[in-house]
């Protein structure tokens, strides 16, 4: 096939300079007062030659790529697919291209991604932070690259953050268990340096207090390490099993579990199923987030749902805003929906 047409070719064909062509094709004919008739001829020639601008040349000149980078934790999370879908939709409208990368919860991979994307000169970043990412956050600040963090709140950083109100959501979940008659409510979470899970624990504790239940350290299980990459889920799986076994052996008996994340709930329910523990009769269950499995479980799981589409959309809005006003520092906390299933013995 013939080489791609360039501005020069159009200019030649019409018999004008490349400058005029550039003006017209960038719709600056008004400001630059390009002749009406010539503008039309330029457009015609562009169409004839099937012209499409060379984005790379344009980027080199303007040092804008019209591309944003997105770093997610793991593409298998429901959170990821929900949010990225919204990000993609929003960016398409704004004519931005998106480049993704997954950290797989690995700080080293995360750091590599940040540098890769900055190297590719993305105009901005939407990031799900991992643990120990302070260095990269600082790097972005130093280089004045606009970014917004979503989902998780790392300690001690100043940044645009879009997240949910974890305290409130967790409070609602735990309180629901109390209201459905549960007294020995367990909390199963990950150990983590990120604030989200700490906030969820706070919400849980607040709900206990409000319901007049006293907290019991034995009811709080914090799994070490996040679900590791691909297939190597065994360690977490084993720890979840152990945690549930421990809880079931407690006396006075644990009568319900609040899972702090969907992945933990899925792992946990698998084990609970294998043990033939009836839900909700023997064990009430509440989870965070969504999973296809929650609805198909013999007893639909009651859960708090994050507004994933909103998070994605607002993240893009905020990023674009920051790109224009670099000093913006927004912290948006969104509300969650509470989906009542039957896993707490609801009537």
């Amino acid at each position: 096939m013939p080489k791609r047409a360039a501005l020069k070719d159009i200019a030649q064909k019409v018999g004008v300079s490349t400058a005029l062509v550039s003006y017209v094709l960038n719709n600056q004919e008004e400001e630059k007062r390009v002749g009406k008739e010539i503008a039309a001829r330029i457009r015609q020639a562009a169409a004839d030659l099937n012209y499409t601008p060379n984005q790379i040349a344009r980027s080199l000149k303007t040092s804008k790529t019209h591309t944003i980078g997105v770093i997610v934790a793991d593409i298998h999370y429901r959170f990821t697919s929900g949010v990225t879908k919204a990000i993609e939709a929003a960016c398409q409208q704004l004519n931005y291209t998106v480049i993704y990368g997954s950290s797989n919860e690995d700080p080293a991979k995360f750091a590599r991604l940040v540098h890769l994307l900055v190297d590719r000169q993305v105009d901005g970043l939407i990031i799900v932070p991992v643990m120990d990412c302070k260095k990269e956050i600082d790097y972005l600040h130093r280089h004045e690259i606009p970014f917004v963090l979503i989902d998780r709140i790392p300690p001690n950083v100043e940044a645009n953050i879009i997240s949910i109100d974890n305290v409130k959501a967790a409070h609602r979940s735990a309180l629901h268990l109390a209201k459905t008659g549960h007294r020995r409510i367990a909390f199963v979470s990950y150990q983590s340096g990120l604030l989200n899970l700490a906030e969820r624990k706070n919400g849980y504790l607040a709900a206990l207090a409000e319901a007049g239940l006293s907290p019991d350290p034995a009811l709080i299980k914090e799994i070490a390490g996040r679900r590791p990459a691909d297939g190597v889920t065994d360690r977490v799986t084993d720890e979840v099993k152990q945690a549930i076994d421990d809880l079931l052996a407690l006396s006075p008996a644990c009568d319900s579990i609040f899972f702090a994340t969907d992945t933990l709930a899925v792992e946990g329910l698998r084990h609970i199923n294998a043990l033939h523990i009836p839900v909700p009769e023997r064990l009430g269950i509440v989870s965070f987030d969504e999973s296809e499995a929650f609805e198909l479980f013999y007893c639909p799981i009651t859960r708090g749902r994050q507004p994933l589409a909103d998070i994605g959309r607002i993240a893009v809005d905020t990023l674009i805003d920051t790109m224009h006003h670099p000093t913006t520092k927004k912290k948006v906390l969104l509300g969650t929906e509470f989906i009542i299933g039957k896993s707490c013995g609801e009537t």
Copy 2:
């Protein structure tokens, strides 16, 4: 922060020309016989200045972006996350960046994405085709842009294709139902112009024949239209419900269902659950692909599993190969794993 260092800055600092710097930093010092000592000084200066090459300038010059485009159908499919994870891993090793886009099964969006990615000058494409994508495929051929199709096989196209052996996999699934004592085996699929589902139907029919069962058109349900974008799943959901109601009303009774895709199975099981139809006692179930829900269902679903990681990895290999040998036309059919659960009354 200070402006980014460029080749020129290094050249200036060391007191040589940019050409030398370029050679050294691209490890061509051997061929270009650059002086050892000077090479060392150049590297040192590069490190001092924190030099990172400007990929955009490089791309403009070489017209290679070291980027590949991936067009998936829907990020919510298990297929998508499984395959993209492998693609990303493979590309990272090869130092390629990946740009994703979702067609959401919409031919118009698909076409837009192809052009967007070509505009961005990706070096190659990995594509999950949608219906009616012949025009874009031709476009890629005409422009000599390397690409490989995965998952689905559009009719009448010449291209690199990585897929599974659908006939064989479906045959195995349906035969399993026959072997576990089912005689009235239904096949629930989508209507589609793509060959995959046609092949799955062929496999199903072949299994019936092998088991001495006569095919019954009433047992074959083909849902119109794929699951549409975001939330608007109602039409498909309704049709699946209707299909299952119809099957259950049949006489002689339908005793089992083979779902041609995981999404259909999830929809179907939801309805079967709501109707309190016991699996496998009243209805044996086999599905294709994976879902978190299949393991958590009270009765683990027997299913064929696609080698998602292999598909992704081989797609990248094939693409790279094609980029070097544009005439390559590979058609790779991979085998599937068959996971035996309890949903067919297995003992």
